[in-house]
Amino acid sequence: MTDLIKGLYRVGEPIQDTKAPGGPIEQRWTTRKFEAKLVNPANRRKLTVIVVGTGLAGGAAIATLGEAGYNVKAFCYQDSPRRAHSIAAQGGINAAKNYKEDGDSVYRLFYDTVKGGDYRAREDNVYRLAEVSGNIIDQCVAQGVPFAREYSGLLDNRSFGGVQVSRTFYARGQTGQQLLIGAYQALERQVKQGPDDKERTVDMFTRHEMVELILVDGRARGIIARDMVTGKLETHLGDAVVLATGGYGNVFFLSTNAMGCNVTAGWRAHRKGAYFANPCYTQIHPTCIPQSGDQQSKLTLMSESLRNDGRIWVPKKAEDCSKDPRQIPEEDRDYYLERIYPSFGNLVPRDIASRQAKNMCDEGRGVGPEVLERDHDGGERRVRRGVYLDFSEAIERMGADKVSEKYGNLFDMYAEITGDNPYETPMRIYPAVHYTMGGVWVDYDLETSIPGLFCSGEANFSDHGANRLGASALMQGLSDGYFVLPNTIRDYLASGPYPKVSPDDPAVQEAEANVKARIDHFLSSNGTRSVDSYHKELGHIVWEYCGMERTEEGLRIAIDKIRALRKDFWSNVRVLGKKDELNQSLERAGRVADFLELGELMCVDALHRRESCGGHFRAESQTEDGEALRHDDEFCYAAAWEWGGQNEPPILHKENLVYEFIELKQRSYK
């Protein structure tokens, strides 16, 4: 291990083995499936798998493992597995079916995804993703997912950002909802109908939040879950644990995430030894409804699919920015994405579209109400933060009815939130935090650095590199849940069942004691500030200094501010009520405590990566055109961080990314 670098971290051993087999890339997954040990069907009922999170990745895994005959204990913090935030995904799911016969293939989907990730994803995982993508569509159709169809009765497709083929399957603007309902129904089919039910295999614990991971002899053997209705802490033990707990975008407070989305499950695992990789790779989605005031609790996404037909523009002249957009003639409109990127136009990838929107507003040509902003040195400025997403040309071309058929629910949602009618006036949009490419580090088997602990879906750092393409999160969640995890976890489970763990085991007792101490502390600190006030302040810090554009100076300021905020939180937070009852402030306190640690790691990661790639943009590293400039010679690796200990610096383990099948290039969408 090296000495302290920049005063912030140390470098440890590199990661050598990801468990991916060698050979031609199109055979690696087949090889791994064959080499992974099998579990005899009669032995599966002796094994228990704990799955935390019931979104696409979690729900699909629970259903599949349950169908296979394993005992599954499933947990979600919501009142039903169907509430997972996968439900909100709008635009669609990619698959290399090539139904449009427009040049698509497994290889092209693989290539587009690696390129879209700015050459910072693990090749093997991405190829596999593309390989199983077609099977996902088959499975969803079989479950009754009502994808959009053409008059022929066959499935319809559309295009998405960063891609020139039409490979996205969708269900109007509610694709995530329909996919999740499919997985949810498959999950519910396996839920036990009483303690004597010998046929079904899933125990579903709703309104239960995982608050600690239990390790015995270095293996993940269970969790402590808090019953959110009674406050009771429960110990649940098994042979393996799967975390499918989603992304950490809520560290920014304002994001498109749901209110309850959090990093706690992954972070507790991180503190017990699970590496956390690339936390600075956060995705900012270009088309969200702009913030309207200080009371805002979240930002609403307007699907990327709108960019298929809508045109993005700002006025050419700053003085036109306060005018009614319908009064601004064509020649005074700057369709800037079409101008700067002639071949991809409005369908450039998200990081590029977001940065350009920010640039236009920084130049003084944003639209909408002025918002007050603070500079790094404390000065104030008023800036309009919005750009237009205009459907007038599409409405004229297709007719309002056809536009409504494709995007109806999105238009209604926009109207309800803003009070404006998008059929008559252009929508105002602005980038917002949406997705996190970083997450718990996993190998080719989706196993973390803790034996027996697996991580799937957005919660892992996986397949999207430094930037995720639209319609690929749904693809990854279901790929992990239906087809990958059930095939890789069997290799681990084949060596089980692992020795029974007693509730009196010191590891269990210690975990329970730590959780109790934390909860007791929150309820007794009797400070003056609410949990939400800390969350909002943390959100401001990371949005300002670790958002769309990052600098060395800004990141150092952020790290200092976060440390100070965290110190204050632990002594001054006020959480009322009791622990043995439903207590939402107490729930949030635990989540914000973990965000206050993750936020710091995110900034350290961003500071150490002195290049720009995908969603991580360092102002010091850009091309002449203002695009992200990578330094492949120095940074072509995944940064997997190991917890160094309380108030100790983290330890960096580099996983070198080797591209055998794709040539690294400067990403261009011009």
Partner: protein
């Protein structure tokens, strides 16, 4: 805007509840209803009073988690969820009564939070298509007539919020049930289990304590996703046909 809120407070499932009155003086019309409750909770916290417990998650009208009765109307307004309702729909000086969903099948857990586990149990009874992972044929093996696909989608858009139950004087969940039966029953993939599904789901619905349907139509009026009333007709038709299959 100045707003007076009368909010149902109930400490636990077995506690007696009652309406408490709160005043808010600076409510912006652009705020959402739940953001207003957040603001109220911040004030309560600062005063040392326990905040009001209410469910919400996505805050964009798709997860179905949120849901309160506002001035006697589930979700407060036509075709929106509680989280989508914005304060520009109210006037300065308004008095707003806020209550949880009322139905014997939805017991109150605390304040405005109710237990909707009955909905999951109805789905467990038959709201699925049995297609084990890996057994699916190629996606285009069975084309689906666009009209049927659109109808299935329309019914599948149900978010499981329970507003229909809260609105129904009989506490019936027929709209929720009808939506799922219609969604799966219109598709070719749903045919093999079409009759067993409707029988089992209706039995579970009745067993949970939801009431019967007397065609009042308060349900589709309250539904934030505008699930059409005729999914109940479809449900009834399938239930009858199930006798012969």
């Amino acid at each position: 805007m100045k707003i007076t809120l009368k909010v149902w407070r109930q400490a636990g499932p077995d506690a007696k509840g009652k309406l408490h009155t709160y005043q808010l003086d600076e409510v912006s019309p652009d705020e959402s209803f739940l953001e207003m409750l957040d603001m109220l909770n911040e004030n309560l916290n600062n005063r040392g009073e326990e905040p009001i417990a209410f469910d919400s998650d996505c805050r964009e009208g798709i997860c179905g988690t949120c849901g309160v009765v506002i001035n006697g109307r589930p979700h407060g307004k036509r075709a929106v969820t509680t989280c989508q309702l914005h304060m520009r729909n109210f006037n300065d000086g308004d008095e707003i009564t806020v209550e949880p969903w009322r139905a014997s099948a939805f017991p109150v857990l605390r304040d405005l939070i109710v237990d909707r586990g009955a909905f999951d149990r109805i789905i467990q009874a038959g709201g699925f298509i049995s297609a084990n992972t890996g057994s699916a044929p190629e996606a285009h093996a069975a084309p689906v007539e666009k009209k049927k696909a659109d109808r299935a989608f329309e019914a599948a858009a149900c978010i499981g919020c329970g507003a229909c139950v809260a609105a129904c004087p009989n506490g019936s969940a027929m709209l929720f049930l009808g939506a799922k039966v219609t969604h799966l029953g219109r598709l070719p993939q749903g045919q093999p289990e079409r009759w067993t599904r409707v029988r089992a789901m209706v039995a579970q619905h009745d067993g949970e304590g939801f009431g019967g349907c007397t065609n009042i139509r308060a349900c589709s009026d309250a539904c934030p996703k505008e699930i059409p009333q005729d999914v109940i007709s479809t449900l009834n038709a399938d239930k009858r046909s199930a006798y012969f299959h």
